[in-house]
Symmetry: C2
Subunit: 244 residues, 2 copies
């Protein structure tokens, strides 16, 4: 049974302001909830689930507050068009104090504001084994329900930091900074790297000039057609598949 | 000035049924309208535009019915969150009677239903110079306003056909059929091709077994991480960047 005030509370977590105040966010569906149940990055505070999900999964929920609800109640609290059996209220990740960039590849996102694109980029990073993403402060909110869902569980594995990007990049003197550009090295002819920062810019405006000035290696994805640009996530996927 | 019945008519073109009946669709914004004004694929029937757009572009609108409207009227008929100066009512493309597959690369989409993904795939095809896409009948509608907008103008250059995919692929005995699969040739080690059908499957279900049975060459995108799958458009972009 779901109390009225509980329902209201969960609904209010759709707003960034409330998520920030409470230090929690929500994730939905058996797949992503399973990722968080087995993740060491954070912990689930409450689970709201249908009886059949609870029957199948209660053994994996040790210690988590488990509330059995019916489909009508799930519909009320779900942010999805098609609610999917279980909703978790999860504690936000601990902010790491230091970002390590030596000896590994990091993805750097500037002003990616579309939640779907942002989530897809997290998923791509995870696919290629990239464990950390550094974002400009004006990027989408990691805890936005649309971002959480579109990562398809990768959010539980990839670390993400918000920072003043131009300032931060200026301090990264030990590692190369790579970025997609119209005139640069052909990505299909590039050698693999195992260290570096790969910058992906805003969907329509690209990379800002203050960040672009700091780029060491410009990368071009050759195209034959007339399309002006590729979607940011697609460009990232292509670059990573060639150089990682 | 925009008449009430005109406004209602344009709003109704958000529905597939009405678009099919009328044989028209809408596209919005200076960039995509400019693509259609210079395209030989179809023609614009009416343009609804703000005074400043008309002043700058009326010379390129030869023969097209041009209606000057104000911002409030544009807001009423626009399908965009942020209306963008001009809306065009456009005649649907002529259906070509025959699809040629020899000597070229075609993209084949099975059950891509998300309009944003569908549009992004059209844009990717255009980027890599692929001029035709064959889709299963249950794919998104090419003329859905969200699809039109997310192609960013590529819709004016790429030809798209709907068909019963398994039946049609069975008839394509002269060209190789490629598809992404978990166990296949490593995409980063593949040779370039200049002929073939590249199949991209549904976002969550992948390629159906009846289509998968017809695939000649299975392609794998190697990943290091734990993400289960890549977004369909990202996978398509990666495959095309390696083999086209």
């Amino acid at each position: 049974m779901l109390g009225k005030s509980q329902a209201k509370y969960i609904q209010s977590l759709g707003q960034k302001k409330v998520r920030d105040q409470e230090g929690v966010f929500i994730a939905e569906g058996p797949k992503i909830v399973a990722e968080f149940l087995s993740s060491s990055k954070t912990r689930i505070l409450q689970l709201y689930a249908l009886p059949d999900w609870i029957r199948a999964n209660h053994k994996d929920c040790n210690g988590v507050e488990l509330v059995e609800i019916n489909e009508g109640e799930l519909e009320k609290i779900s942010q999805l068009a098609t609610p999917n059996k279980v909703l978790a209220v999860i504690k936000k990740f601990e902010a790491l104090s230091e970002i390590q960039t030596k000896g590994k590849i990091s993805l750097v996102l500037e002003t990616i504001q579309d939640p779907g694109n942002f989530g897809t980029l997290i998923r791509i990073a995870d696919w290629f084994g990239i464990e950390q993403i550094i974002c400009s402060n004006d990027s989408a909110d990691l805890y936005n329900p649309k971002v959480v869902q579109s990562t398809m569980g990768s959010i539980a594995r990839v670390n993400l930091f918000y920072t003043d990007l131009a300032d931060w990049l200026q301090e990264q003197k030990d590692v190369f900074i790579y970025a997609a550009a119209l005139k640069g090295q052909n990505v299909t002819a590039m050698k693999k790297i195992n260290e570096g920062l790969i910058v992906i810019g805003n969907e329509s405006k690209g990379i800002s000039s203050s960040v672009f000035d700091l780029v060491d290696v410009r990368i071009t994805i050759p195209g034959k057609g007339n399309a002006e640009s590729l979607n940011a996530a697609v460009a990232a996927g292509i670059i990573l598949s060639h150089i990682v």
